[in-house]
Protein backbone atom coordinates (compact mmCIF):
# COMPACT_ATOMS: atom_id res chain seq x y z
CA UNK A 1 0.00 0.00 0.00
CA UNK A 2 2.92 2.34 0.59
CA UNK A 3 3.89 2.08 -3.06
CA UNK A 4 0.27 2.69 -4.11
CA UNK A 5 0.15 5.78 -1.87
CA UNK A 6 3.33 7.16 -3.42
CA UNK A 7 2.10 6.37 -6.93
CA UNK A 8 -1.14 8.18 -6.09
CA UNK A 9 0.88 11.26 -5.13
CA UNK A 10 2.77 11.07 -8.43
CA UNK A 11 -0.52 10.52 -10.27
CA UNK A 12 -2.04 13.62 -8.63
CA UNK A 13 1.00 15.73 -9.47
CA UNK A 14 1.17 14.40 -13.00
CA UNK A 15 -2.48 15.33 -13.55
CA UNK A 16 -1.82 18.89 -12.44
CA UNK A 17 1.17 19.09 -14.77
CA UNK A 18 -1.00 17.80 -17.60
CA UNK A 19 -3.65 20.37 -16.73
CA UNK A 20 -1.12 23.17 -17.29
CA UNK A 21 0.24 21.44 -20.42
CA UNK A 22 3.65 21.09 -18.80
CA UNK A 23 4.82 18.74 -21.54
CA UNK A 24 4.51 21.55 -24.08
CA UNK A 25 7.20 23.49 -22.21
CA UNK A 26 9.64 20.76 -23.23
CA UNK A 27 10.32 19.25 -19.83
CA UNK A 28 11.96 15.84 -19.86
CA UNK A 29 9.93 12.80 -18.71
CA UNK A 30 12.22 12.32 -15.69
CA UNK A 31 11.80 15.99 -14.73
CA UNK A 32 8.06 15.57 -15.03
CA UNK A 33 8.17 12.56 -12.72
CA UNK A 34 10.38 14.29 -10.14
CA UNK A 35 8.16 17.37 -10.20
CA UNK A 36 4.97 15.30 -10.07
CA UNK A 37 6.04 13.64 -6.82
CA UNK A 38 6.47 16.84 -4.78
CA UNK A 39 3.57 18.53 -6.50
CA UNK A 40 1.34 15.54 -5.73
CA UNK A 41 2.34 15.44 -2.06
CA UNK A 42 1.64 19.17 -1.73
CA UNK A 43 -1.61 19.04 -3.69
CA UNK A 44 -3.02 16.07 -1.76
CA UNK A 45 -2.22 17.74 1.57
CA UNK A 46 -4.01 20.88 0.35
CA UNK A 47 -6.93 18.72 -0.73
CA UNK A 48 -7.04 17.23 2.77
CA UNK A 49 -7.08 20.71 4.26
CA UNK A 50 -10.03 21.58 2.02
CA UNK A 51 -11.80 18.47 3.35
CA UNK A 52 -11.83 20.27 6.71
CA UNK A 53 -14.10 22.97 5.24
CA UNK A 54 -16.25 20.41 3.43
CA UNK A 55 -16.43 18.05 6.39
CA UNK A 56 -15.20 15.10 4.34
CA UNK A 57 -13.43 12.17 6.01
CA UNK A 58 -10.08 10.83 4.84
CA UNK A 59 -10.42 7.53 3.03
CA UNK A 60 -8.58 6.12 0.04
CA UNK A 61 -11.69 6.74 -2.02
CA UNK A 62 -12.29 10.37 -1.03
CA UNK A 63 -8.64 11.19 -1.59
CA UNK A 64 -8.33 9.41 -4.94
CA UNK A 65 -11.63 10.24 -6.65
CA UNK A 66 -10.89 13.94 -7.41
CA UNK A 67 -7.64 12.96 -9.13
CA UNK A 68 -9.32 10.28 -11.21
CA UNK A 69 -11.91 12.90 -12.20
CA UNK A 70 -9.12 15.26 -13.19
CA UNK A 71 -7.49 12.47 -15.16
CA UNK A 72 -10.70 11.93 -17.14
CA UNK A 73 -10.97 15.67 -17.72
CA UNK A 74 -7.36 15.75 -18.90
CA UNK A 75 -7.95 12.97 -21.39
CA UNK A 76 -9.87 15.43 -23.53
CA UNK A 77 -6.97 17.87 -23.75
CA UNK A 78 -4.11 17.48 -26.14
CA UNK A 79 -1.02 16.78 -24.06
CA UNK A 80 1.48 16.66 -26.89
CA UNK A 81 4.68 18.62 -26.96
CA UNK A 82 8.25 18.45 -28.12
CA UNK A 83 10.60 17.39 -25.35
CA UNK A 84 13.88 19.24 -24.93
CA UNK A 85 16.96 17.32 -25.97
CA UNK A 86 19.98 17.08 -23.74
CA UNK A 87 23.37 18.09 -25.05
CA UNK A 88 25.65 15.40 -26.31
CA UNK A 89 28.90 15.44 -24.42
CA UNK A 90 32.09 13.53 -24.24
CA UNK A 91 31.62 10.17 -22.57
CA UNK A 92 33.69 9.61 -19.45
CA UNK A 93 32.64 6.09 -18.50
CA UNK A 94 35.00 5.60 -15.54
CA UNK A 95 34.33 8.98 -13.93
CA UNK A 96 30.60 8.62 -14.58
CA UNK A 97 30.47 5.17 -13.02
CA UNK A 98 32.37 6.34 -9.94
CA UNK A 99 30.09 9.35 -9.52
CA UNK A 100 26.97 7.22 -9.99
CA UNK A 101 28.36 4.87 -7.35
CA UNK A 102 28.92 7.77 -4.93
CA UNK A 103 25.41 9.17 -5.52
CA UNK A 104 23.87 5.71 -5.20
CA UNK A 105 25.65 5.17 -1.89
CA UNK A 106 24.32 8.47 -0.54
CA UNK A 107 20.78 7.78 -1.76
CA UNK A 108 20.80 4.24 -0.38
CA UNK A 109 22.13 5.53 2.94
CA UNK A 110 19.40 8.21 3.09
CA UNK A 111 16.70 5.56 2.60
CA UNK A 112 18.35 3.24 5.10
CA UNK A 113 18.68 5.96 7.73
CA UNK A 114 15.09 7.06 7.21
CA UNK A 115 13.62 3.59 7.42
CA UNK A 116 15.72 2.06 10.19
CA UNK A 117 14.00 4.26 12.80
CA UNK A 118 10.46 5.48 13.30
CA UNK A 119 9.93 9.23 13.67
CA UNK A 120 11.86 10.20 16.78
CA UNK A 121 13.67 13.54 16.51
CA UNK A 122 12.39 16.48 18.54
CA UNK A 123 10.54 18.74 16.08
CA UNK A 124 9.49 15.79 13.94
CA UNK A 125 7.65 14.26 16.92
CA UNK A 126 6.58 17.34 18.87
CA UNK A 127 5.37 19.49 15.97
CA UNK A 128 4.56 17.34 12.95
CA UNK A 129 4.07 13.64 13.74
CA UNK A 130 1.69 14.36 16.62
CA UNK A 131 -0.52 16.38 14.24
CA UNK A 132 -0.48 13.53 11.72
CA UNK A 133 -1.52 11.09 14.46
CA UNK A 134 -4.39 13.37 15.53
CA UNK A 135 -5.65 13.68 11.95
CA UNK A 136 -5.23 9.99 11.20
CA UNK A 137 -7.10 8.79 14.29
CA UNK A 138 -9.94 11.24 13.59
CA UNK A 139 -9.81 10.51 9.82
CA UNK A 140 -10.07 14.29 9.41
CA UNK A 141 -8.96 17.49 11.05
CA UNK A 142 -11.15 17.45 14.20
CA UNK A 143 -13.64 20.33 14.33
CA UNK A 144 -12.08 21.65 17.57
CA UNK A 145 -8.51 21.14 16.38
CA UNK A 146 -7.68 24.77 15.59
CA UNK A 147 -9.60 26.24 18.51
CA UNK A 148 -8.52 23.82 21.25
CA UNK A 149 -6.28 20.84 20.48
CA UNK A 150 -3.59 22.60 18.44
CA UNK A 151 -2.76 24.89 21.38
CA UNK A 152 -1.79 21.87 23.49
CA UNK A 153 1.22 21.13 21.28
CA UNK A 154 4.10 23.34 20.12
CA UNK A 155 3.82 25.66 17.11
CA UNK A 156 0.18 25.45 16.05
CA UNK A 157 0.97 28.09 13.41
CA UNK A 158 3.29 25.84 11.41
CA UNK A 159 1.74 24.85 8.07
CA UNK A 160 0.22 21.39 7.77
CA UNK A 161 1.58 20.19 4.44
CA UNK A 162 3.82 17.44 5.79
CA UNK A 163 1.59 16.35 8.74
CA UNK A 164 -1.27 15.93 6.25
CA UNK A 165 1.02 14.13 3.80
CA UNK A 166 1.91 11.73 6.63
CA UNK A 167 -1.81 11.30 7.36
CA UNK A 168 -2.33 10.51 3.68
CA UNK A 169 0.27 7.72 3.88
CA UNK A 170 -1.28 6.32 7.10
CA UNK A 171 -4.69 6.34 5.43
CA UNK A 172 -3.38 4.24 2.57
CA UNK A 173 -1.42 1.95 4.89
CA UNK A 174 -4.51 1.53 7.05
CA UNK A 175 -2.30 1.68 10.12
CA UNK A 176 -0.23 4.11 12.13
CA UNK A 177 3.24 3.08 10.99
CA UNK A 178 5.55 5.99 11.74
CA UNK A 179 8.50 4.12 10.29
CA UNK A 180 7.22 3.50 6.75
CA UNK A 181 5.77 7.00 6.57
CA UNK A 182 9.32 8.37 6.57
CA UNK A 183 9.68 7.14 3.01
CA UNK A 184 8.41 10.50 1.79
CA UNK A 185 11.53 12.31 3.01
CA UNK A 186 14.33 10.51 1.12
CA UNK A 187 12.10 10.77 -1.95
CA UNK A 188 12.32 14.55 -1.64
CA UNK A 189 16.10 14.06 -1.46
CA UNK A 190 16.01 12.04 -4.69
CA UNK A 191 13.73 14.71 -6.19
CA UNK A 192 16.26 17.46 -5.51
CA UNK A 193 19.21 15.43 -6.79
CA UNK A 194 17.35 14.44 -9.94
CA UNK A 195 16.20 17.99 -10.65
CA UNK A 196 19.74 19.29 -10.12
CA UNK A 197 21.17 16.65 -12.44
CA UNK A 198 18.80 17.51 -15.29
CA UNK A 199 19.13 21.26 -14.71
CA UNK A 200 22.92 21.02 -15.07
CA UNK A 201 22.67 18.44 -17.83
CA UNK A 202 20.88 21.00 -19.99
CA UNK A 203 24.11 22.95 -20.44
CA UNK A 204 26.83 20.42 -19.65
CA UNK A 205 27.97 16.85 -20.08
CA UNK A 206 26.72 13.84 -18.14
CA UNK A 207 29.91 13.61 -16.06
CA UNK A 208 29.74 17.30 -15.16
CA UNK A 209 26.08 17.04 -14.09
CA UNK A 210 26.83 13.89 -12.09
CA UNK A 211 29.75 15.65 -10.41
CA UNK A 212 27.58 18.45 -9.00
CA UNK A 213 24.82 16.00 -8.09
CA UNK A 214 27.38 13.99 -6.16
CA UNK A 215 28.70 17.12 -4.43
CA UNK A 216 25.21 17.98 -3.20
CA UNK A 217 24.35 14.40 -2.23
CA UNK A 218 27.52 14.01 -0.20
CA UNK A 219 27.05 17.09 2.01
CA UNK A 220 26.54 15.44 5.43
CA UNK A 221 23.99 17.93 6.76
CA UNK A 222 21.93 17.70 3.59
CA UNK A 223 21.90 13.91 3.64
CA UNK A 224 21.06 13.67 7.33
CA UNK A 225 17.98 15.88 6.85
CA UNK A 226 16.72 13.45 4.21
CA UNK A 227 16.07 10.99 7.02
CA UNK A 228 14.95 12.81 10.17
CA UNK A 229 11.38 13.75 9.14
CA UNK A 230 12.01 17.51 9.50
CA UNK A 231 10.44 19.88 6.97
CA UNK A 232 13.67 21.48 5.82
CA UNK A 233 14.36 19.12 2.94
CA UNK A 234 10.80 19.29 1.52
CA UNK A 235 11.08 23.09 1.74
CA UNK A 236 14.47 22.95 -0.05
CA UNK A 237 12.81 20.82 -2.74
CA UNK A 238 9.90 23.22 -3.30
CA UNK A 239 12.14 26.28 -3.35
CA UNK A 240 14.68 24.63 -5.66
CA UNK A 241 12.12 23.38 -8.18
CA UNK A 242 10.32 26.75 -8.17
CA UNK A 243 13.63 28.58 -8.68
CA UNK A 244 14.84 26.26 -11.46
CA UNK A 245 11.59 26.66 -13.41
CA UNK A 246 11.60 30.39 -12.82
CA UNK A 247 15.11 30.70 -14.29
CA UNK A 248 14.08 28.51 -17.20
CA UNK A 249 11.08 30.72 -17.90
CA UNK A 250 13.38 33.77 -17.86
CA UNK A 251 15.47 32.15 -20.59
CA UNK A 252 12.43 31.55 -22.77
CA UNK A 253 9.32 33.46 -21.80
CA UNK A 254 7.18 31.65 -24.33
CA UNK A 255 7.26 28.65 -21.97
CA UNK A 256 4.74 30.08 -19.53
CA UNK A 257 4.06 26.59 -18.12
CA UNK A 258 7.37 26.87 -16.26
CA UNK A 259 6.25 30.10 -14.63
CA UNK A 260 2.95 28.55 -13.54
CA UNK A 261 4.64 25.47 -12.04
CA UNK A 262 7.25 27.71 -10.40
CA UNK A 263 4.47 29.70 -8.74
CA UNK A 264 2.71 26.53 -7.57
CA UNK A 265 5.96 25.22 -6.09
CA UNK A 266 6.64 28.56 -4.37
CA UNK A 267 3.12 28.43 -2.91
CA UNK A 268 3.77 24.88 -1.71
CA UNK A 269 7.00 26.10 -0.09
CA UNK A 270 4.86 28.50 1.94
CA UNK A 271 2.47 25.66 2.71
CA UNK A 272 5.37 23.49 3.95
CA UNK A 273 7.11 25.89 6.33
CA UNK A 274 6.65 29.49 7.41
CA UNK A 275 10.08 30.24 5.94
CA UNK A 276 8.60 29.19 2.60
CA UNK A 277 6.68 32.48 2.54
CA UNK A 278 10.02 34.22 2.43
CA UNK A 279 10.83 32.29 -0.74
CA UNK A 280 7.55 33.44 -2.27
CA UNK A 281 8.76 37.00 -1.61
CA UNK A 282 12.25 36.15 -2.93
CA UNK A 283 10.87 34.73 -6.19
CA UNK A 284 8.53 37.68 -6.60
CA UNK A 285 11.43 40.08 -6.08
CA UNK A 286 13.46 38.14 -8.66
CA UNK A 287 10.66 38.46 -11.25
CA UNK A 288 10.43 42.15 -10.39
CA UNK A 289 14.19 42.52 -10.93
CA UNK A 290 13.84 40.65 -14.21
CA UNK A 291 11.08 43.02 -15.33
CA UNK A 292 13.31 46.00 -14.56
CA UNK A 293 16.66 44.72 -15.82
CA UNK A 294 15.82 42.54 -18.80
CA UNK A 295 12.68 44.10 -20.16
CA UNK A 296 13.40 47.67 -19.09
CA UNK A 297 10.18 47.74 -17.11
CA UNK A 298 8.27 48.19 -20.33
CA UNK A 299 6.99 44.71 -20.83
CA UNK A 300 3.34 44.37 -19.86
CA UNK A 301 3.76 40.67 -20.38
CA UNK A 302 6.19 40.49 -17.47
CA UNK A 303 3.88 42.59 -15.28
CA UNK A 304 1.06 40.23 -16.17
CA UNK A 305 3.31 37.27 -15.37
CA UNK A 306 4.03 38.78 -11.97
CA UNK A 307 0.30 39.15 -11.34
CA UNK A 308 -0.31 35.51 -12.33
CA UNK A 309 2.55 34.39 -10.10
CA UNK A 310 1.21 36.23 -7.07
CA UNK A 311 -2.35 35.07 -7.72
CA UNK A 312 -1.31 31.40 -7.75
CA UNK A 313 0.59 31.80 -4.47
CA UNK A 314 -2.39 33.64 -2.99
CA UNK A 315 -4.82 30.87 -3.95
CA UNK A 316 -2.57 28.16 -2.48
CA UNK A 317 -2.00 30.05 0.76
CA UNK A 318 -5.58 31.27 1.18
CA UNK A 319 -7.16 28.29 3.05
CA UNK A 320 -4.35 28.05 5.60
CA UNK A 321 -4.12 31.82 6.08
CA UNK A 322 -7.91 31.94 6.52
CA UNK A 323 -7.81 29.22 9.19
CA UNK A 324 -4.98 30.93 11.06
CA UNK A 325 -6.73 34.29 10.94
CA UNK A 326 -10.14 33.03 12.03
CA UNK A 327 -8.72 30.76 14.76
CA UNK A 328 -6.37 33.42 16.13
CA UNK A 329 -3.30 31.25 15.55
CA UNK A 330 -0.14 33.37 15.60
CA UNK A 331 3.58 32.77 15.38
CA UNK A 332 5.24 33.03 18.77
CA UNK A 333 8.76 33.47 17.42
CA UNK A 334 8.57 36.08 14.69
CA UNK A 335 6.74 39.38 15.07
CA UNK A 336 6.21 41.05 11.69
CA UNK A 337 5.27 44.30 13.47
CA UNK A 338 8.96 44.44 14.47
CA UNK A 339 9.85 44.91 10.83
CA UNK A 340 10.31 48.67 11.07
CA UNK A 341 13.42 50.84 10.87
CA UNK A 342 13.50 51.91 14.53
CA UNK A 343 13.21 48.34 15.82
CA UNK A 344 15.72 47.06 13.27
CA UNK A 345 18.15 49.70 14.54
CA UNK A 346 17.61 48.52 18.11
CA UNK A 347 18.27 44.93 17.06
CA UNK A 348 21.45 45.76 15.19
CA UNK A 349 23.52 44.12 17.96
CA UNK A 350 22.26 40.77 16.67
CA UNK A 351 24.42 41.12 13.57
CA UNK A 352 27.47 40.00 15.57
CA UNK A 353 26.06 36.63 16.77
CA UNK A 354 24.42 36.09 13.35
CA UNK A 355 27.75 36.39 11.57
CA UNK A 356 29.59 34.49 14.28
CA UNK A 357 27.21 31.54 13.80
CA UNK A 358 27.42 31.93 10.03
CA UNK A 359 31.21 31.68 10.04
CA UNK A 360 30.93 28.60 12.27
CA UNK A 361 28.80 26.97 9.60
CA UNK A 362 30.93 28.41 6.80
CA UNK A 363 34.08 26.74 8.08
CA UNK A 364 32.34 23.64 9.46
CA UNK A 365 33.44 20.63 7.39
CA UNK A 366 31.56 18.21 9.64
CA UNK A 367 28.27 19.43 8.27
CA UNK A 368 29.11 21.08 4.97
CA UNK A 369 32.44 19.63 3.83
CA UNK A 370 34.27 22.55 2.13
CA UNK A 371 31.24 23.79 0.20
CA UNK A 372 31.04 27.34 1.53
CA UNK A 373 34.77 28.24 1.36
CA UNK A 374 34.86 26.65 -2.10
CA UNK A 375 31.76 28.58 -3.17
CA UNK A 376 33.28 31.87 -1.95
CA UNK A 377 36.51 31.08 -3.77
CA UNK A 378 34.70 30.19 -7.01
CA UNK A 379 32.64 33.38 -6.84
CA UNK A 380 35.72 35.56 -6.30
CA UNK A 381 37.53 33.81 -9.15
CA UNK A 382 34.53 34.20 -11.46
CA UNK A 383 33.38 37.63 -10.30
CA UNK A 384 32.89 38.73 -13.92
CA UNK A 385 30.38 35.95 -14.52
CA UNK A 386 28.38 36.50 -11.34
CA UNK A 387 25.93 38.85 -13.01
CA UNK A 388 25.85 37.43 -16.52
CA UNK A 389 22.58 36.27 -18.04
CA UNK A 390 20.26 34.35 -15.76
CA UNK A 391 23.15 34.02 -13.31
CA UNK A 392 22.41 37.45 -11.88
CA UNK A 393 18.93 36.31 -10.87
CA UNK A 394 20.31 33.21 -9.18
CA UNK A 395 22.70 35.50 -7.33
CA UNK A 396 19.85 37.85 -6.35
CA UNK A 397 17.80 34.88 -5.20
CA UNK A 398 20.63 33.57 -2.99
CA UNK A 399 21.49 37.01 -1.63
CA UNK A 400 17.86 37.67 -0.75
CA UNK A 401 17.60 34.28 0.97
CA UNK A 402 20.55 35.06 3.24
CA UNK A 403 19.29 38.61 3.83
CA UNK A 404 15.81 37.27 4.55
CA UNK A 405 17.08 34.98 7.29
CA UNK A 406 19.12 37.83 8.80
CA UNK A 407 15.89 39.88 8.94
CA UNK A 408 14.12 36.88 10.56
CA UNK A 409 16.71 36.90 13.31
CA UNK A 410 16.46 40.67 13.72
CA UNK A 411 12.69 40.62 14.25
CA UNK A 412 12.61 37.38 16.21
CA UNK A 413 11.37 37.36 19.81
CA UNK A 414 13.53 34.35 20.73
CA UNK A 415 16.87 34.79 22.50
CA UNK A 416 19.25 35.23 19.59
CA UNK A 417 22.06 32.81 20.52
CA UNK A 418 19.61 30.01 21.28
CA UNK A 419 17.65 30.67 18.07
CA UNK A 420 20.82 30.75 15.96
CA UNK A 421 22.18 27.52 17.41
CA UNK A 422 18.90 25.76 16.64
CA UNK A 423 18.20 27.14 13.18
CA UNK A 424 21.13 28.53 11.10
CA UNK A 425 22.41 25.11 10.12
CA UNK A 426 18.89 24.16 8.98
CA UNK A 427 18.15 27.42 7.16
CA UNK A 428 21.26 26.92 5.02
CA UNK A 429 19.79 23.65 3.72
CA UNK A 430 16.87 25.52 2.18
CA UNK A 431 18.92 27.27 -0.49
CA UNK A 432 21.79 24.79 -0.70
CA UNK A 433 20.60 23.13 -3.98
CA UNK A 434 20.28 26.56 -5.63
CA UNK A 435 23.81 27.42 -4.48
CA UNK A 436 25.24 24.17 -5.93
CA UNK A 437 23.37 24.82 -9.16
CA UNK A 438 24.81 28.33 -9.29
CA UNK A 439 28.35 26.98 -8.83
CA UNK A 440 27.73 24.55 -11.68
CA UNK A 441 26.73 27.44 -13.96
CA UNK A 442 29.77 29.48 -12.93
CA UNK A 443 32.29 26.69 -13.54
CA UNK A 444 30.88 25.30 -16.76
CA UNK A 445 33.62 26.80 -18.93
CA UNK A 446 36.50 26.08 -16.56
CA UNK A 447 35.86 22.48 -15.61
CA UNK A 448 35.70 20.39 -18.73
CA UNK A 449 34.32 16.95 -18.14
Amino acid sequence: MLVIALLTAVFAGWNILRLVSFKRAGALPAEELLTAYGLGIGAISLQMLLFYFLNVRYTILTITVPWIALFILNMRSNGTGVRDRLKDGENRPVIEKLLVLGISLEVAYAFFRALIKPIESYDAVAIYAIKAKIFYLAQSIPSDYFTRISALYPHPDYPLCIPLAETFIYTFLGSFNDQLVKMIFPLFFVGILGMLYFAVRRFASRAYALLFTFLLASIPQFNSYAANAYQDLPLAYYYFVSAIFLFRWMEDRSRSQYLVVSAVMAGLAGWTKNEGMMYCVVNTAVIFAFALLDTGGRSWKTVRSLAVYLSIIFVIMLPWTWIKKTSGIVNGEIELANLNPSNMLKQIYKIVPIFYEFQKQFFGPKKWNILFPAAAFIMILNYKKLFQGTGKYIFISLALSVAGYCVFYMISLVEINYFLSKTWSRFLIHFLPVLVYYLATLLKEDVKL
Partner: protein
Protein backbone atom coordinates in the same frame (compact mmCIF):
# COMPACT_ATOMS: atom_id res chain seq x y z
CA UNK B 1 44.49 26.86 -13.52
CA UNK B 2 40.90 26.88 -12.26
CA UNK B 3 40.59 23.24 -13.34
CA UNK B 4 43.74 22.31 -11.36
CA UNK B 5 42.44 24.05 -8.25
CA UNK B 6 39.11 22.34 -8.73
CA UNK B 7 40.79 18.94 -8.88
CA UNK B 8 42.67 19.59 -5.63
CA UNK B 9 39.47 20.84 -3.95
CA UNK B 10 37.63 17.74 -5.15
CA UNK B 11 40.35 15.51 -3.70
CA UNK B 12 40.01 17.31 -0.35
CA UNK B 13 36.23 16.93 -0.62
CA UNK B 14 36.49 13.17 -1.16
CA UNK B 15 38.97 12.78 1.71
CA UNK B 16 36.65 14.66 4.09
CA UNK B 17 33.62 12.78 2.79
CA UNK B 18 35.24 9.43 3.56
CA UNK B 19 36.65 10.64 6.89
CA UNK B 20 33.38 12.03 8.23
CA UNK B 21 31.43 9.06 6.91
CA UNK B 22 33.70 6.63 8.76
CA UNK B 23 33.63 8.87 11.86
CA UNK B 24 29.85 8.89 11.98
CA UNK B 25 29.47 5.19 11.39
CA UNK B 26 32.22 3.77 13.56
CA UNK B 27 33.49 6.39 15.99
CA UNK B 28 30.19 8.09 16.83
CA UNK B 29 28.49 4.69 16.96
CA UNK B 30 25.84 4.97 14.23
CA UNK B 31 26.69 1.50 12.88
CA UNK B 32 26.34 0.00 16.34
CA UNK B 33 22.96 1.68 16.79
CA UNK B 34 21.76 0.45 13.39
CA UNK B 35 22.80 -3.06 14.43
CA UNK B 36 20.69 -2.77 17.58
CA UNK B 37 17.69 -1.44 15.68
CA UNK B 38 17.83 -3.70 12.65
CA UNK B 39 16.11 -6.77 14.08
CA UNK B 40 13.71 -4.98 16.42
CA UNK B 41 9.99 -4.73 15.68
CA UNK B 42 8.41 -1.28 15.29
CA UNK B 43 7.33 -1.46 18.93
CA UNK B 44 10.84 -2.52 19.91
CA UNK B 45 12.31 0.43 18.01
CA UNK B 46 9.99 2.86 19.80
CA UNK B 47 11.09 1.32 23.06
CA UNK B 48 14.80 1.53 22.24
CA UNK B 49 14.59 5.15 21.10
CA UNK B 50 12.46 6.33 24.02
CA UNK B 51 14.41 4.33 26.55
CA UNK B 52 13.15 0.88 27.46
CA UNK B 53 12.27 1.88 31.03
CA UNK B 54 10.19 4.92 30.09
CA UNK B 55 8.50 3.09 27.23
CA UNK B 56 7.56 0.19 29.52
CA UNK B 57 5.94 2.70 31.87
CA UNK B 58 4.03 4.45 29.06
CA UNK B 59 2.76 1.10 27.77
CA UNK B 60 1.60 0.13 31.25
CA UNK B 61 -0.14 3.50 31.71
CA UNK B 62 -1.79 3.27 28.31
CA UNK B 63 -3.30 -0.08 29.25
CA UNK B 64 -4.71 1.30 32.49
CA UNK B 65 -6.17 4.52 31.10
CA UNK B 66 -9.71 4.41 29.72
CA UNK B 67 -10.56 6.53 26.63
CA UNK B 68 -10.58 10.28 27.34
CA UNK B 69 -8.59 9.91 30.56
CA UNK B 70 -5.98 12.60 31.13
CA UNK B 71 -2.52 12.14 32.57
CA UNK B 72 0.33 14.02 34.16
CA UNK B 73 3.91 12.90 33.70
CA UNK B 74 6.17 13.27 36.74
CA UNK B 75 9.91 12.84 36.96
CA UNK B 76 10.81 13.84 33.41
CA UNK B 77 12.40 17.19 32.54
CA UNK B 78 9.90 19.77 31.28
CA UNK B 79 9.91 20.31 27.49
CA UNK B 80 12.43 17.50 27.04
CA UNK B 81 12.21 15.17 24.06
CA UNK B 82 10.93 12.46 26.43
CA UNK B 83 7.93 14.62 27.35
CA UNK B 84 7.20 15.16 23.66
CA UNK B 85 7.49 11.46 22.87
CA UNK B 86 5.21 10.51 25.74
CA UNK B 87 2.59 13.02 24.52
CA UNK B 88 2.95 11.53 21.04
CA UNK B 89 2.62 7.91 22.14
CA UNK B 90 -0.22 8.55 24.59
CA UNK B 91 -2.45 10.64 22.30
CA UNK B 92 -5.54 10.71 22.36
CA UNK B 93 -4.87 11.11 26.08
CA UNK B 94 -3.98 14.69 26.94
CA UNK B 95 -1.64 15.93 29.64
CA UNK B 96 -3.26 18.24 32.22
CA UNK B 97 -2.39 19.44 35.71
CA UNK B 98 -5.50 18.03 37.35
CA UNK B 99 -5.12 14.66 35.67
CA UNK B 100 -7.01 11.39 36.09
CA UNK B 101 -3.71 9.48 36.12
CA UNK B 102 -0.21 10.25 37.31
CA UNK B 103 2.59 8.57 35.40
CA UNK B 104 5.55 8.65 37.75
CA UNK B 105 8.89 7.94 36.16
CA UNK B 106 11.21 9.02 38.89
CA UNK B 107 9.44 8.93 42.22
CA UNK B 108 10.92 10.83 45.14
CA UNK B 109 10.26 8.68 48.17
CA UNK B 110 9.09 11.55 50.38
CA UNK B 111 6.52 13.03 47.95
CA UNK B 112 2.93 12.03 48.64
CA UNK B 113 0.33 12.35 45.92
CA UNK B 114 -2.88 12.91 47.82
CA UNK B 115 -6.08 11.63 46.30
CA UNK B 116 -4.30 9.13 44.07
CA UNK B 117 -3.84 5.37 44.45
CA UNK B 118 -1.21 3.20 42.79
CA UNK B 119 -2.75 1.03 40.08
CA UNK B 120 0.47 -0.28 38.55
CA UNK B 121 3.91 -0.39 40.12
CA UNK B 122 6.87 -1.36 37.95
CA UNK B 123 9.62 -0.82 40.51
CA UNK B 124 10.42 1.48 43.43
CA UNK B 125 10.73 4.52 41.15
CA UNK B 126 8.10 3.93 38.45
CA UNK B 127 4.39 3.62 38.90
CA UNK B 128 0.98 4.65 37.56
CA UNK B 129 -1.48 6.27 39.95
CA UNK B 130 -5.18 6.83 39.50
CA UNK B 131 -7.22 9.65 40.98
CA UNK B 132 -9.79 8.48 43.47
CA UNK B 133 -13.22 8.68 41.89
CA UNK B 134 -11.89 8.95 38.34
CA UNK B 135 -13.53 6.68 35.76
Amino acid sequence: MVYKIFKIAFAVWIALWVMFGVRELFIKGAAKEYGKLFFRSLEGKHSYLTGDKLYELITAANKKMPPNATYKLIGVEKDSIEVRRVAYYLYPHFETDDADFLIIYDSRGDVVYEGYDIVESLDSARCVMKKRGAQ
